[in-house]
Symmetry: none
Subunit: 217 residues, 4 copies
């Protein structure tokens, strides 16, 4: 087995460092050290530091959108769709806590021009959640005081997993996903629906999109 491509190792190290110390708190030499290269060599594999951040965010949001798309495809009812969105989101934010945390935290580090398309992707993703909530409210499956407040509250709650999830912690990933699905549906005033796929299904979905090879981030 050969060493993984430096391009990927740079990205992985950047994800880890940006998540831990923030974009502005991470130096280019620190990143180079983490990869085992000189800072000059780093620029063989990347553009600017900002390019690197943009790439990380874009990739991550693309994957979240892909996952959400698959969930919608296989889930006809609002309750089923919501269940799937929450579980994939939670699983992704647990398995790739660094990567997702960077997306959630470092938007402000981008210059306005670079920020715009990233924000657009994020909005696109959040709109998926919004439309599911809307459909559920319209069909009577959900009872929320306000559509967009519910969407924001829900997303915020589920993204928070990236802040505290611990692979060796008290709860297995599947349990955490289950609990968040349960809490979310309760928040939406929804009746539990029988026959929904178990957490394992969504774990598989997420790992299929993100891949297992690279170090989780």
């Amino acid at each position: 087995m050969s060493r993984p491509h430096p391009d990927g190792r740079v990205r992985a190290a950047a994800v880890a460092l940006f998540a831990t110390k923030g974009f502005h708190g991470t130096g280019i030499r620190e990143l180079a050290d983490a990869v085992g290269l000189s800072s000059a060599t780093l620029y063989h594999y990347m553009g600017t530091k900002e390019d690197l951040l943009v790439d990380i965010m874009q990739t991550s949001l693309d994957r979240l959108l892909t996952a959400a798309g698959q969930v919608l495809t296989e889930s006809p009812s609002p309750v089923g769709a919501m269940n799937g969105l929450v579980r994939t989101h939670v699983v992704a934010h647990a398995l790739r806590k660094a990567e997702t945390a960077v997306v959630d935290t470092e938007l402000r580090a981008l210059s306005p021009e670079r920020r715009r398309p990233i924000t657009a992707l994020r909005d696109e993703y959040e709109n998926v959640w919004g439309s599911v909530i809307e459909k559920g409210q319209a069909s009577g499956s959900f009872q929320v005081p306000d559509l967009s407040v519910a969407r924001l509250a829900l997303l915020q709650m589920c993204s928070g997993v990236a802040n505290w999830y611990n692979p060796g912690g008290r709860h297995a990933l599947a349990e955490i996903a289950d609990m968040h699905a349960q809490l979310s549906l309760a928040m939406l005033g929804a009746e539990p629906e029988p026959g929904l796929p178990p957490a394992a299904h969504y774990i598989h979905l997420v790992t299929g999109i993100w891949g297992d090879d690279a170090a989780p981030g």
Copy 2:
């Protein structure tokens, strides 16, 4: 002799800048410009940049703890306490979105020694929420899959208000507080309890602690 206490205007400007651009993304000259002083003069009003951040966080967490203490004093039941905690938290995170966002985001910018006492304060505050949830679960008022997961999810959700609240937005602050109380209690599987104080009560409580004079942050 202790460090000089930062002038209110310095503190306010720092809060605004740290919230917008992050601690590491904010320069000391930028802060000085915002206050209308030279960077050298700034050091008459503060210790180091890190001292300033610590001070901001400490003050903010102290106030949250004070508010939580008052809520507990006046709320005998778990449902009433939870209702109060959520509303004060939401109101504080709306009226002082910058300040509270800094506390939630910039912990990682602190050196380990300075971080420890701040983390302790934050844990103390979160424990208040935890013990109310525990009491409610024990008394049968709440039905949650896991105590600590519920606590984390709840806090994350309510803190998120600081990210999107807009004073001139679609919903009045009281409405937002009401909605979050409703969503939270639904999440906890609690029956609505009659006779709880309205949002205005908690807005008053928060403004009493934070003061109205300074620009909100």
Copy 3:
């Protein structure tokens, strides 16, 4: 007597270094060393390196224009004006060889936006020479094959003094100015005109504009 203002010392050192090693061949730390400051302190007294170059060029061209204006004022005839232009130009390029060489050599180091106004100043100065040649040709005092070729050839020849003038050299400055006046008028096919001011007059004019205080550059 106090030390001269660092601002001026920075400019003087920059002029010397830019003239000797070129703009791109001069490092900011090299400049700082020459002034006896740290590179960080340098930025207390200047903007960017390019700002510094622009400032040097602007000042120099302004002075040349001022000198040319005074010459025109006091010289009615084309022969007299040309005599004065050549002598002031040569004297300036001898006494301030570094400064004038920078103007002649480093235009290309400027970014297009910064170059434009400097080029405009240079063109304005060259146009003074052009219109004197034109007037002389029209009045029959000069006999040149082409107006603009004569202007370019003349200016080039006189500017060259900055490349080889040596304060302690074989010829005194006044002699060099005299010779260039003679060569120039011969080139233009002009009859020598009696009663023109001696070189000393133009040396005085130049030193009056440039000042004696700072180190020559």
Copy 4:
């Protein structure tokens, strides 16, 4: 084993870039891009960047010396020799403006050891002009105030053509050469001599030495 000889395309690109942006203002990757090679491959065709500059200058000065030698051979009188030197110099500085400008401008970019032999070549060339002027002055054909000042002024004037010559400009090359011959002889106080070769003769001489194949530089 000597240094690899730079490929013609590398040399041509270097000449163009050094002339436009200066030696220090031109990057090795920029040069590689211009040739369509990688920067690593460039080093198969050249030694160091400085070697490249030395080679350019040496070749150019060798050619100027060759041209001057041919002129002297075919021109017995000082006036005829001067006429030929000026015309070949002007033609070379027009047809190969980039190359000649690099020689005139970038001497300072060389390290002292590499500069010495180049300076020697340049001095040798300038001495040819000097001795012709001296002979003309001795024989009474020229009337100049000072031998070396005249030499410097003359050379500077004629080299200046490289700064402004434009192949599609108002004047044909032959005209420009004629005018400079006329201006130069006037400067030297020389009577026009009948029977001198036309500009075309010297254009042919220059193109014979420099070759037509490569892009002019």
